[in-house]
């Protein structure tokens, strides 16, 4: 919202995704709430029965993020939303967080089933897993929180924050007693109204008293019943890979720092965000970069004119040379160097794999790092990382997601408190990186799988393009849980990644059809859903993915087949992109020139040095948002128009990264 309002202005409701409100209560504009959030929140008071039955979490649910405010707000989306005061309370929680008191109860609650008033620890690792396993209960438990309505009023002040804290801890205690209780929503609208009118009349304290009384009464009345029901009706997916314990100091650190610089950070981010790609048609800059570079790339002779702004290098000739001096190089850490070479050689494919490899290398590099005398860790380490990054770029242009990960790392370095000793700082950074990998990539994938699998029904024919590990996980999981479906794998030259996927799926016993991209309009007639992976999604909804994705999406659109894009939220990017020309990566042209033809294999080779003939090996293309029906991310299932919302809202509070 309005950046001038400062970070602690009235909290906003983040409602992204689809909402299954069965009885959409009429929008009741509330005059005393000029700000968008709460008023919106009441509108989605869907009954509890709507909460996911059985094995699936609600498709409309937005998983919680690290911060309280987001937790509540976003989780509030699909379930009966408690009304404004919940957010107030939330705000209060935020406060306690900012003050820096680390409440052990928080983590306790975070790892255990959620408390009835909907509070969760902000501790990261557990959240997705928690959200998945407990969604039913979560939604069930929510309304309770809803009667906290009157806790706080506008104009948050410190005293109020304290009051709120008290109230919430009260709530917590009660929750421990009757945890997991829930209530039917039938009574809710009435109560909501009641409380609303109450609020107008009563003072803060009075309201709080009333509300506490209500809550106590409810707790007594409800008991355990619904908890059991919720428990039995839902299967337990695998536990989240990582528990939050090792993260203790991190949120504290970040929040206290961000508190101080909240505004300036915003600006700074603006500054460092657009790490615009170097334009390779800018002669002087290219020369400058070349002088510094470690990797000596020979420029390809036969450049495609349209893509002069992208690096066009000959491939494969510098690799042996580079791999020989892996141990002699001192400017670049050997782990990073190794990853760079792997990128160069194409041993690591796939955005997630590349990103994880890079982060692991950085982790190692940070572990081995010692601050030189007379230097500041923050400054020096950032410079070091910059050096590594530019080396990696020389090896292969970074993908958008890697750019995001690097930005995350730099942010973490910048936010390190000055008084932290070096080993502590290093440990904190390493654990942050580990958390990023676990939470933003691995767990996000699991959440996406859980979401996407709800979209697969028996008898469907699913089409996928190329190889996307998330899509593979989805297909395998759907097969595992007994869905009967057929998979169409569309592949394209020169990488033929689809064959890898085909192999894996066939081995697991899935029914597969394999074809090439040209035949996509032949096969599309029988397809009922298209699942696509993504390399990045830009904030205008443009999907930036492996070349050919746009073709598949377009044909699917022409055949009125829904296109579902699976993408982890850390790949979202606030850039905008209209075409596939301005920002792209060029692969090895020889890969195209070499055609697996039996009879005239060499027909292109002979023409190689003809300057009239060029081979263009585009790596990515951009799919316009209009072809995308839905994006499945770890924040839920959203339309492409919601990408800027997610990027904006979550990025602002460092939640996305």
């Amino acid at each position: 919202m309005d950046p001038r309002r400062g970070p602690l202005a009235v909290p906003k409701v983040r409602r992204v995704g689809f909402f299954t409100s069965i009885e959409p209560s009429p929008e009741t504009p509330r005059p005393n709430r000029s700000l968008s959030g709460p008023a919106e929140a009441i509108t989605s008071s869907s009954p509890l029965s709507d909460s996911p039955s059985g094995q699936f979490i609600s498709p409309v649910q937005i998983p919680p993020s690290r911060h309280h405010s987001d937790n509540l707000a976003s989780r509030a989306a699909p379930v009966p939303v408690p009304g404004p005061s919940a957010f107030r309370r939330q705000l209060a929680n935020d406060r306690t967080l900012h003050v820096g008191s680390y409440n052990p109860v928080d983590s306790l609650l975070g790892t255990s089933p959620p408390s009835s008033n909907g509070e969760v620890s902000e501790d990261s690792g557990s959240l997705f897993g928690f959200q998945r396993s407990d969604s039913a209960k979560l939604s069930a438990s929510f309304p309770n929180g809803g009667f906290d309505m009157t806790v706080a009023v506008r104009a948050p002040g410190e005293s109020e924050a304290k009051v709120a804290t008290a109230s919430t801890s009260d709530g917590r205690k009660k929750n421990v007693e009757a945890s997991g209780e829930s209530e039917s929503v039938a009574t809710k609208p009435r109560k909501e109204k009641e409380t609303r009118s109450l609020k107008e009349k009563t003072s803060k304290a009075e309201r709080r008293a009333i509300q506490e009384a209500q809550r106590a009464a409810k707790a007594a009345a409800k008991g355990e019943g619904s908890k059991r029901a919720g428990e039995s009706s839902r299967p337990k997916p695998s536990k989240p890979a990582k528990q939050p314990q090792p993260k203790k100091e991190a949120p504290q650190v970040t929040s206290s720092v961000s508190e101080k610089r909240a505004v300036s950070v915003e600006k700074e981010r603006r500054m460092d965000v657009p790490q615009t790609q170097m334009q390779y048609d800018d002669k002087s800059r290219v020369d400058k970069a070349k002088r510094r570079s470690v990797v000596e790339q020979t420029e390809s002779k036969n450049k495609v004119e349209l893509f002069l702004h992208l690096p066009q290098y000959e491939r494969g000739n510098q690799l042996p040379n580079l791999s020989s001096n892996i141990f002699t190089l001192d400017t670049i850490h050997h782990a990073v160097y190794k990853v760079g070479l792997q990128h160069l050689a194409g041993d690591i494919a796939g955005d997630n794999a590349r990103c994880i490899a890079m982060l692991h290398a950085f982790q190692e590099a940070i572990n081995d790092y010692t601050t030189p005398p007379m230097k500041d860790l923050t400054m020096d380490l950032t410079a070091k990382i910059n050096g590594y990054v530019s080396f990696l770029i020389e090896c292969r242009p970074l993908s958008m997601s890697m750019g995001n990960a690097i930005r995350f790392l730099k942010n973490q370095i910048r936010k390190l408190p000055v008084d932290l000793s070096e080993p502590e700082a290093k440990a904190s950074l390493c654990s942050e990186i580990g958390r990023f990998i676990d939470e933003k990539i691995l767990l996000a994938d699991k959440v996406i799988v859980q979401h996407a699998v709800t979209k697969i029904r028996d008898g469907e024919v699913l089409l996928t393009y190329g190889f996307s590990c998330v899509v593979e996980m989805i297909l395998l999981y759907a097969h595992e849980i007994g869905r009967k479906f057929r998979v169409v794998i569309v592949d394209s030259r020169p990488n033929l990644e689809g064959q890898k996927l085909l192999r894996r799926l066939v081995t697991r016993g899935l029914d597969c059809t394999y074809t090439h991209i040209n035949a996509v309009s032949y096969i599309m007639g029988e397809v009922t859903r298209v699942f696509l992976g993504a390399s990045s999604i830009f904030s205008n909804g443009t999907l930036y993915s492996k070349v050919g994705t746009a073709c598949v999406a377009m044909v699917a659109n022409a055949f009125s087949v829904p296109v579902i894009v699976c993408c982890e939220a850390y790949k979202f990017h606030e850039r905008v992109l209209l075409d596939s020309i301005c920002s792209n990566e060029l692969g090895d042209p020889d890969a195209i020139a070499n055609v697996p033809l039996r009879n005239n294999k060499k027909h292109s080779k002979t023409m190689d040095n003809n300057k009239n003939l060029q081979f263009l090996n585009l790596m990515y293309d951009s799919t316009p948002a209009e072809y995308i029906s839905m994006i499945v991310t770890d924040y839920g299932m959203i339309p492409p128009t919601s990408i800027p919302v997610i990027v904006r809202e979550y990025r602002r509070e460092d939640l996305l990264l």
């Binding site: 495609v304 004119e305 349209l306 592949d491 394209s492 030259r493 020169p494 064959q499 085909l502 192999r503 066939v506 081995t507 016993g509 899935l510 029914d511 597969c512 059809t513 394999y514 074809t515 090439h516 991209i517 040209n518 035949a519 996509v520 309009s521 032949y522 096969i523 007639g525 492996k546 070349v547 050919g548 746009a550 073709c551 377009m554 044909v555 022409a558 075409d579 596939s580 020309i581 792209n584 195209i592 020139a593 055609v595 033809l597 027909h603 292109s604 023409m607 003809n610 009239n612 003939l613 060029q614 081979f615 263009l616 090996n617 585009l618 990515y620 293309d621 951009s622």
Partner: protein, 410 residues
């Protein structure tokens, strides 16, 4: 006769084994075979036209059955039938004009016309309109019957002139029909082999300086078209999609480069990415259906959709032998041909994970490798045929000129 029979069989075999590729060469071979069939056919004294028609039809059915997706065969057979009918008709009218009624031919014409009347009123009306527009003076018969046979064709005038000149010696009329027909077929052969030049002549009107053209598949018509523009000193660049399993784009690119054109080979998947920088898509058709839809090399539909999305003109080059009088139904499947999976996937690569056990139900792995793609008329901006440029909506009319309604169902 046995001689013809064996050549027909040989050709049928070739068609069946898909040894002949490309609609132009197929069409040419078909015409030549039909010509020899006609010339070898012993013509009875009476009812010669129907005898010829029967003979051509018999052979034509064999050929069409040998490769039903090669629509050019059927087209050419229909064209030849049309020629026979028309020659017959012109002879008959000439005879009528000379008030020398020959029972045989008249009966035959009557016969045909009765059948022709059975066809839709539309084609009759259209044909009548066309008949009026032809150079030939409207005879009583054409006015009354309005048969499609009299529809205009490029060589109507010439054959009309022929018959005009030959009405004089009515005694040789029995031999003349066959002679005229063979002459007409020769015309057809010339037309088929010359369609490239005819189409290429128009290139200069459609390609401007610095144009960026996307094409896919390997089509001789496209090659000639682009080269004709190049020869006229237009400089432009060509993107060629490689055409995945068969890589015919590489062949085209090679030839284009040999002729000095700026050529860039792209993968098929990059078609959408590149289309925004392309000024025109030019493809060669495999067949053009009566509704204006196009059967083209696989991947064409994708390019057409992308072109439509970016408002890039999608131009189809088609010789007249590719104009098919049929209306397609589900052409993606029915007018398609699935080629060997080995072009896509090496069997060895997945053989180890396939379950060959008996009773394991349906095969787990299917590989789809179609040859053709169908582009609906709404995606086509322009057809360029040897008679000029046409809208997709006009194709049915153009086609009606070339075929007689009697032959649509063979």
């Amino acid at each position: 006769m046995p001689d013809v029979q064996s050549t027909v069989l040989e050709f049928v075999n070739k068609l069946r084994k898909r040894k002949i590729e490309g609609s132009q060469s197929t069409a040419k071979c078909t015409v030549e075979i039909l010509r020899s069939v006609i010339s070898q056919q012993r013509v009875p004294h009476s009812n010669q036209a129907s005898a010829l028609i029967d003979a051509v039809k018999a052979v034509g059915e064999q050929l069409v059955a040998a490769n039903p997706v090669e629509l050019a065969v059927g087209n050419v057979v229909r064209r030849v039938l049309h020629i026979i009918r028309e020659e017959d008709l012109s002879l008959a009218t000439a005879a009528m004009a000379g008030l020398d009624l020959l029972d045989a031919s008249d009966d035959d014409g009557e016969d045909d016309n009765c059948r022709g009347v059975g066809y839709s009123a539309m084609s009759a009306a259209v044909a009548a309109a066309a008949a009026r527009s032809t150079l030939r003076p409207p005879s009583l018969q054409t006015l009354l019957e309005g048969t499609p046979e009299s529809a205009a064709v490029p060589y109507t005038s010439s054959s009309g002139a022929d018959s005009e000149s030959k009405t004089a010696d009515k005694s040789s009329i029995t031999r003349k029909l066959k002679h005229d027909v063979i002459e007409g077929v020769n015309h057809l052969i010339l037309e088929i082999s010359g369609c490239h030049e005819q189409i290429a002549e128009q290139a200069i009107e459609h390609i401007h300086q610095n144009e960026v053209i996307l094409t896919l598949g390997s089509s001789r018509t496209v090659l000639e078209f682009l080269c004709a523009a190049k020869e006229k000193k237009r400089s432009f660049r060509v993107f060629v999609a490689e055409g995945a399993p068969r890589y015919q784009g590489h062949l085209l690119a090679k030839e284009l480069v040999a002729r000095g054109l700026q050529t860039t080979v792209i993968t098929d998947s990059a078609v959408f990415a590149m289309i925004s920088r392309v000024n025109m898509v030019i493809i060669g058709a495999h067949a053009v259906m009566a509704n204006g839809g196009v059967i083209g090399p696989v991947g064409v539909n994708m390019a057409a959709l992308a072109a439509k999305k970016h408002a890039v003109p999608f131009v189809v080059l088609a010789g007249s032998h590719k104009l098919c009088p049929l209306y397609p139904h589900n052409p993606e499947v029915l007018l398609n041909e699935l080629r060997s999976p080995s072009e896509l996937l090496d069997f060895g690569e997945v053989s180890d994970c396939l379950d060959f056990g008996a009773g394991s139900g349906s095969p787990l792995l299917q590989v789809v490798n179609p040859t053709f793609d169908y582009v609906p008329p709404s995606l086509v901006s322009l057809f360029i045929t040897d008679t000029g440029g046409h809208n997709p909506s006009y194709m049915y009319r153009l086609i009606a000129d070339y075929y007689s309604a009697d032959d649509l169902v063979m």
